[in-house]
Amino acid sequence: MKHPLSVTEAIALIPDGSTIMIGGFMGVGSPLSLIKELVRQGKKSLCVIANDTAQEGAAIGLLIDAHSVKKVIVSHIGTNPETQRQMIAKELEVELSPQGTLAERVRAGGYGLGGILTPTGVNTLAAEGKQLVEVDGESFLLERPLKADFALIKAQQSDYYGNLKYRLTAQNFNPLMAMAAKHVIVEVEEMLPVGCIPPDDVHTPGVLVDMIVKSEAKA
């Protein structure tokens, strides 16, 4: 059984300088209570792996605003002018990865693969510094796996084993990240007794989840 920790207790376990994956897509499916607590505890020099940095003042954008992040690995920063400003001012390192490639790199990290071969980005700027591999006459980029010290993810429901169920488009990167980090902290909207989530409905099995936190954010 895993009894929910407070947001403060869970985030206190994350050292400055950690590499953390954060679920969500433009803030949808992001663990907002955990993000706010990272800011409140004044974490520094984080490397954040996520789909995007949302907007200024919102979700992962809060970490950018607070200068908590030294590097992001994301698919776009177009919706957050502050991320662009910090990148241009060299306060923040930005590694852009095509979205489908980013998802597969996280999946590869969690699935124990040495990388993935994708046609996406061949002969574009996204291919710089990457190995080109030919398979049956077709060209692919070798993209390396991503792993993290912590994954901060968001689910709709958890039972006390940590079995998780996500909701609609709030799923996005969350189940992939649950596989790819040493420590997985999930923020949930609803806690249920063990057995209340039918096996077919479990998206992420509880064995992958280390800590559960009840969301303090309004959905």
Binding site: Q99, G100, G121, F173
Partner: protein, 215 residues
């Protein structure tokens, strides 16, 4: 009818019943308004859903948005999934069509739409995967931006993918990139050939008879 509506209406005609279609953020989203409901087209959003339809006025669900972060509705029969699966659909040849915006398209049919070096670095998001993987790629863009042509001889900005796009639809013209170059297929409502040539910085292949868009 404004330019964007012309573009959206014309592209809607390209969509076949029952197909799986991804609409980019902005102008491409408008295309859905002009598709017949009885065609049962499946609209995908790369953040993880098939079956977008209607707008949930007063019934917004914070866990249901499109890739632009806007609240959406879904139709009965919709499906939700994670990002790896979503891009498996895109990259794996399961997506019939992607409709996306563009900064420029050149004579080879290469699209640029994710970065203006030194000025604007929004990032590629899902665009590189979409152009590389969709069965058919349609670029929806205004013919010019601030008076500058967007159909050009060669790209001034880094390209999104090596793959040649299948069709360019602007308010002034429908242009089909081919192995031999850019083929002018149709003129916009009320447009003349001279006007299109004047607003285009690329060589166009001009057939004897060029119809106007029927919209």
């Amino acid at each position: 009818m404004n330019g964007k509506e012309i573009i959206a209406r014309r592209i809607a005609q390209e969509i076949t019943p029952g197909s799986l279609v991804n609409l980019g953020i902005g102008l491409p989203t408008m295309v859905a308004h002009y598709v017949d409901k009885n065609d049962h087209v499946f609209f995908q959003s790369e953040n993880g859903v098939i079956g977008i339809g209607g707008f949930p006025e007063g019934m917004e669900n914070p866990s249901l948005t499109d890739a632009g972060g806007s609240f959406i509705g879904v139709l009965p029969g919709a499906a939700a999934f994670d990002s790896a699966f979503s891009f498996g659909l895109i990259r794996g040849g399961h997506l019939d069509m992607t409709i996306l915006g563009g900064l420029q398209v050149d004579e080879k049919g290469h699209l640029a739409n994710w970065i203006i070096p030194g000025k604007m670095v929004p990032g590629m998001g899902g665009a590189m995967d979409l152009v590389a993987g969709a069965k058919r790629v349609i670029v929806a863009m205004t013919h010019t931006a601030k008076g500058n042509a967007k159909v050009v001889e060669s790209l001034a900005f880094p390209m999104t993918a090596e793959r040649r796009v299948d069709l360019i639809v602007t308010e002034k013209a429908v242009i089909q990139p081919t192995e031999d170059g850019l083929l002018l297929k149709e003129l916009g409502p009320g447009c003349t050939l001279d006007e299109v040539l004047d607003l285009t910085d690329a060589t166009l292949i001009i057939p004897d008879n060029i119809p106007h868009m029927q919209i």
